[in-house]
């Protein structure tokens, strides 16, 4: 009888505990949303990374292995024919390489004579895309992290069908992975340079899978299809990285605006790219936001 009573009592406690559980988890989630940058939340995220990231890496490795199996078998069958073709290709490339070396030497000599600052060679870490955030198309996770030398705010470039172009920047680094904000996100800005018009503008993510060249003065004669590169005045990105080409002539930002914002056709499709080169971040200088603010101030001034 007493045993039954105690069992009933325990059952009641359990029932109360379960009844309040959704409220507890709901409040906990709300607290996490409201305080995303607090130390306990960051610590929880760090702990969770040890649970979630190994699964992600394992899944990525398995799918990557299976993905490559068919190609590996096909390559093995075609190996002999490909080997001969590649030998010819190597011989041709050796000649090209010798010519390139000669041209580089000439270029360096001319740069010294004309006192032009030489462009530094892009070097970085090759990484594979391990995860794409499904609800927003603006972020991917690469399989290299701080252990491999990836740093916060590092520029990221991608290769798509042999075309090298801007992909985004690193916004979060864990020991084995890094989160990349894609250039299409509406929080992404980079100072850009129009190849033919010879003017600077601000390339900004539209948040709808594309980019636009902002703050181009209304009277500028732009050409449809002209190339857009990162500018030498960019604080985060090396100059000369291809962003894309102007897809249209552009419309005014507002009815009485003094700038136009033509859309940019991206050189590298952020959704299709599978391998990326994460460069070392540029150590000094201002910020793209600073350039953006200056341009916005200029726009306000223009309106007045």
């Amino acid at each position: 009888m007493q045993k039954d009573k105690s069992k009933k009592k325990t059952g009641n406690y359990e029932s109360i505990y379960v009844r309040w559980l959704p409220a507890f988890y709901g409040l906990l989630a709300l607290l996490v949303i409201v305080l995303p940058l607090q130390k306990p939340v960051n610590s929880a995220r760090a702990v969770l990374s040890y649970v979630f990231i190994p699964q992600l890496r394992a899944a990525n490795a398995v799918v990557g292995y299976l993905d490559g199996t068919g190609d590996a078998v096909k390559n093995l069958i075609n190996a002999a024919a490909e080997n001969n073709a590649l030998k010819d290709e190597i011989a041709r490339l050796r000649i090209d390489n010798a010519q390139t070396e000669a041209l580089r030497g000439e270029n360096e000599r001319l740069s010294i004579i004309l006192n032009i600052a030489r462009q530094t060679k892009w070097s970085g870490i090759w990484a594979k895309i391990a995860y794409r955030e499904p609800s927003r198309r603006s972020m991917v996770i690469a399989d290299k992290g701080s252990y491999d030398g990836v740093e916060l705010r590092a520029p990221v470039i991608g290769v798509d069908d042999g075309v090298v172009g801007l992909l985004g920047k690193v916004i979060e680094v864990t020991p084995n992975t890094s989160k990349i904000l894609l250039s299409t996100d509406d929080d992404f800005f980079v100072t850009a340079f129009l190849d033919q018009s010879r003017i600077e503008c601000l390339a900004a993510g539209s948040g709808r899978g594309g980019m636009a060249a902002k703050y181009i003065p209304l009277e500028t004669q732009i050409t449809k299809g002209e190339k857009v590169y990162t500018s030498v005045s960019s604080a985060l990105f090396p100059d000369g990285v291809l962003i894309g080409s102007l897809a249209a002539y552009g419309v005014r930002d507002e009815k009485d605006a003094v700038f136009i914002s033509p859309p940019i056709k991206l050189a590298v499709d952020p959704l299709g790219v599978k391998e990326v080169l994460i460069l070392a971040p540029i150590p000094s200088g201002g910020t793209e936001q600073g350039v953006s603010a200056a341009a916005q101030t200029a726009q306000k001034g223009g309106k007045k």
């Binding site: 505990y17 379960v18 559980l21 959704p22 988890y25 709901g26 906990l28 989630a29 709300l30 607290l31 996490v32 949303i33 409201v34 995303p36 939340v41 995220r45 969770l48 990374s49 979630f52 699964q55 992600l56 394992a58 899944a59 990525n60 799918v63 995860y131 794409r132 955030e133 499904p134 609800s135 927003r136 198309r137 603006s138 972020m139 996770i141 916004i171 989160k179 904000l181 959704l271 299709g272």
Partner: protein
């Protein structure tokens, strides 16, 4: 108790792996399939309430961890989804394929809208991936339920809760 925890954790790991596969296939098409929500609902239907809420919370946290907006948003939405599921589960027969598809599809739609509204409240932006993802993603999520449900029950050993 420990065995039960291991079973639930195994389901979680399986869910995350399946989620990754679906992301790999459907993300380039701009469609968001709610694999984690499917498993949260299966756990809600088969395991105890405490386990279901905890499972749903961590499923949501998993998605939040890889998202770049509003950490904790999915955790809250999934907790609310399981709460809503428990409120209506006695009125429907969730063992049949038809109700599974319809209910999962509707809950996924409600969860997507709830997440969007949460985004509007906390970040000022309605987090919305478009109507195609909303409709097609929800339908695929609904169709996934009758395929995953028997698998999860048979092979991943989610046992029916005692004294339901």
């Amino acid at each position: 108790m420990i065995l039960r925890f291991i079973c639930i954790f195994a389901v979680f790991v399986f869910a995350t792996l399946l989620h990754w596969v679906f992301v790999d296939i459907f993300s380039p098409l701009d469609i968001n399939v709610g694999v984690m929500l499917v498993f949260a609902l299966i756990t809600a239907a088969r395991a105890g309430r405490a386990a279901a809420y905890t499972f749903a919370f961590f499923c949501g946290l998993f998605l939040d961890f890889f998202a770049n907006a509003m950490f904790g948003g999915y955790a809250l939405v999934f907790t609310l989804a399981v709460f809503a599921f428990h409120k209506i589960e006695n009125k429907i027969d969730f063992s049949g394929s038809g109700p599974q598809i319809v209910l999962t599809c509707l809950i996924n739609m409600a969860a997507t809208l709830a997440y969007g509204f949460l985004g509007k409240i906390f970040t000022g932006v309605f987090l919305w991936q478009g109507f195609v993802s909303f409709l097609v993603g929800s339908i695929i999520t609904g169709l996934l339920m009758p395929v995953t449900y028997p698998l999860a029950v048979k092979y991943i050993a989610i046992r029916s809760r005692e004294g339901k």
